[in-house]
């Protein structure tokens, strides 16, 4: 076998990997095209990553990655985000090339995945922040109780109550993100099932359309939460 034969086989395998990566990608078309193009020269290294990275756990922030407490706390939400991404990919594959494709186009799936990723990252940051010293809810409540008991000055008490209120709001935001992601995960799993059923049963898109609308409503809700005024309070010095 000559060098030319080897190069030809390498190129054919590269093209096959590029096609597989492009078709399986849930990212937007330009990003999917870049990922596919990268596989042409580098498929032995890139194809296993690009084709299976959705099974990998999602990206961690710098803060949460180095904090074992945060790492442990973010796992269920990270898993939910990974389930959403995998279900979206399967949903896109299920309706590709059918009349259902307009219901869940690749670009829309990419936008949903991006919102979910942002929400998961925010949840991880919030968890990391709340795991740090000075952000403990119990400690803040104890501090207020102690000040009340010792009849501290009104100013000290007001400061302690403000701190407690802020910690409570941060915890509420974290819990709300977790609930939203869990609910969205269930909904996207149902959407995937519905799309698969509609494809194989050849049924109409009526049932699917309802779930798609619901998914979009939840995603917009997530986006609104992420773009809210509370973001200013979530800056982490490590993130």
């Amino acid at each position: 076998m000559s060098l030319r034969d080897l190069l030809l086989i390498y190129a054919v395998l590269g093209v096959a990997c590029a096609v597989a990566i492009y078709r399986s990608s849930t990212e937007s078309r330009p990003r999917a095209a870049v990922a596919a193009a990268l596989a042409l020269p580098l498929w032995p290294l890139w194809a296993p990553i690009a084709l299976t990275s959705s099974r990998s756990r999602p990206a961690a922030t710098w803060a949460s990655a180095i904090d074992p407490r945060a790492r442990a706390a973010r796992s269920p939400v990270s898993e939910a985000a990974a389930r959403v991404e995998a279900a979206l990919r399967e949903g896109v594959e299920a309706c590709a090339g059918t009349s259902l494709e307009s219901l869940l186009p690749r670009d829309a799936a990419a936008r949903i995945a991006a919102e979910v990723k942002r929400a998961a990252e925010r949840h991880a940051e919030l968890t990391a922040v709340l795991g740090r010293e000075g952000f403990d809810l119990d400690a803040a409540e104890r501090r207020v109780a102690e000040l009340e008991k010792s009849r501290a000055s009104a100013r000290s008490l007001a400061t302690a109550r403000l701190h407690l209120e802020n910690v409570k709001r941060l915890a509420a935001l974290r819990d709300r993100d977790a609930r939203a992601l869990e609910e969205l995960s269930d909904l996207v799993l149902a959407l995937r099932t519905q799309l698969t059923l509609a494809r194989f049963a050849g049924s109409s898109v009526e049932g699917v359309g309802g779930i798609v609308s619901e998914v979009w409503a939840r995603v917009e809700g997530l986006g609104a939460a992420l773009g809210g005024d509370d973001d200013g309070a979530l800056d982490s010095d490590e993130a």
């Binding site: 290294l45 890139w46 299976t52 099974r55 961690a60 922030t61």
Partner: protein, 246 residues
């Protein structure tokens, strides 16, 4: 390319190694490391090529990252099989992310050492000293890579054996890849610089010949194998010393 991953690659290799081992964030690590490999090795190659100058700067800037990426591409399946056989049956993406992270960190070290090497060349380092300085830079970069590799393999039995197996495979494949793509460091007096030298056996042959030369046993065929232009520009002592040095 993720600035966060790049920062962790430099400042917290243990964290990157843990991410690869625990199958977290592997895509971002792989992409960033791949870019670091290409850019870092290309910059180092450019400096190596600058010893002669001209087209050799571009040649070496292309060939050094090419040799490294080709080596990793050939080695990755072997690493996966070795790790699985020695008790670490991880996903392929984890192994690839780990070796890319190791190579990426070593390439960043090469990038950091490039200005110093360039300065030494500019101060008039001779050919053999230049080769030695480049080899030293490679050695330092290799230590940085081994740091990530060892941490990435994690605790547990067979870690040292797995690391030695990885390094052995990498040296064998990397040596041959580099040998095929030479020359990198070329004497300034050389008039014609080919992109690739004519095929002259393999890396193992070169090692054997170098070993014999170091023992004072000179093989006439090995002297003949040196390129015509090099012989024209070298003294007999230089020709002997040149064996296997590129």
């Amino acid at each position: 390319m993720s600035a966060g991953v790049l920062r962790r690659l430099l400042r917290s290799p243990a964290d990157i190694a843990a991410c690869c081992r625990e199958d977290r964030d592997t895509r971002a690590i792989a992409v960033t490391s791949l870019i670091a490999v290409v850019l870092g090795a290309a910059a180092f190659g450019g400096v190596i090529g600058s010893f002669r100058g001209g087209a050799q700067i571009a040649y070496a800037a292309v060939k050094i990252p090419l040799a490294l990426v080709a080596t990793l591409a050939v080695c990755a399946p072997a690493f996966h099989a070795l790790a699985a056989g020695l008790g670490r049956a991880w996903p392929m993406r984890s192994i690839i992310a780990l070796v890319l992270a190791a190579a990426g960190r070593s390439s960043l070290v090469l990038l950091a050492l490039s200005p110093a090497l360039w300065l030494l060349f500019d101060l008039g380092l001779d050919y053999h000293a230049a080769a030695l300085a480049a080899a030293l830079a490679y050695g330092i970069a290799g230590l940085a890579a081994i740091g990530i590799l060892i941490r990435g393999l994690g605790a547990g039995s067979g870690r040292a054996l797995t690391a030695v197996a990885f390094i052995g495979v990498f040296f064998a494949v990397g040596g041959q890849s580099s040998w095929i793509l030479r020359p990198y460091l070329v004497r300034p007096k050389t008039t014609q610089v080919p992109f690739l030298r004519a095929r002259e056996g393999g890396f193992a042959d070169a090692l054997r010949k170098s070993g014999r030369s170091s023992a004072g046993i000179y093989d006439r065929a090995s002297v003949r194998s040196i390129g015509e232009s090099d012989r024209m520009n070298s003294t007999p002592d230089q020709v002997r010393a040149f064996e296997g040095s590129e």
